[in-house]
Symmetry: C2
């Protein structure tokens, strides 16, 4: 993906990760791998970890340290009540944006 994606991801990536966590708890390495599979080929690993630290500090997720069989202990994140609220808000904002853009795409042709 081009560099347009980089800028477009700002703000959206956070929602994406929270949405993933709303399905089931997960840890950084896992999330990164999953995103890569989904086609977000060039998402930097560091980006995800930094994002997770951020949402943790804002109290949107709970963290649990779980020992791993193959490597250092994992930090498993799960969405809490406040995070769910925030995710709802994210979807509202996203819907608004998506609607306007869809309109523009049709009208602009």
């Amino acid at each position: 993906m081009g560099k347009q994606a980089t800028e477009m991801l700002k703000g959206t990536l956070e929602g994406i990760v929270l949405a993933i966590l709303s399905g089931q708890p997960a840890y950084g390495y896992e999330i990164t791998a999953w995103l890569r599979e989904q086609g977000f080929s060039d998402i930097a690993e560091g980006t995800i970890y930094a994002l997770l630290v951020r949402v943790e500090q804002r109290g949107l997720v709970d963290v649990e340290k779980v020992p791993s069989e193959k490597g250092p202990p994992r930090k498993v994140y799960s969405l809490n009540a406040q995070g769910r609220e925030y995710l709802e808000e994210f979807w509202r904002t996203w819907s608004f944006l998506a609607e306007r853009l869809e309109q523009l795409r049709e009208g602009g042709k």
Copy 2:
């Protein structure tokens, strides 16, 4: 709109403005007013002007100075060939993102 919108607009706002210009030429003040009408209530005026300067420097738009009846001269921007190409690319990136998010929204419920 919350501050989630601010971050989500990064990268998207540029596409929005270019999409507007793909319909017909326009000037900054006009674009700002139109966006406000469309519900982008808190888009700062300065933001649009800065964005227009940027896309101009990248050669995505052509500019023409037109005298106004009520105020300083207007800088009327119109999308050129390169800009159209860039806009296409924008739509591709957007589609990709929108698809993944739609999937996530359904799967996550």
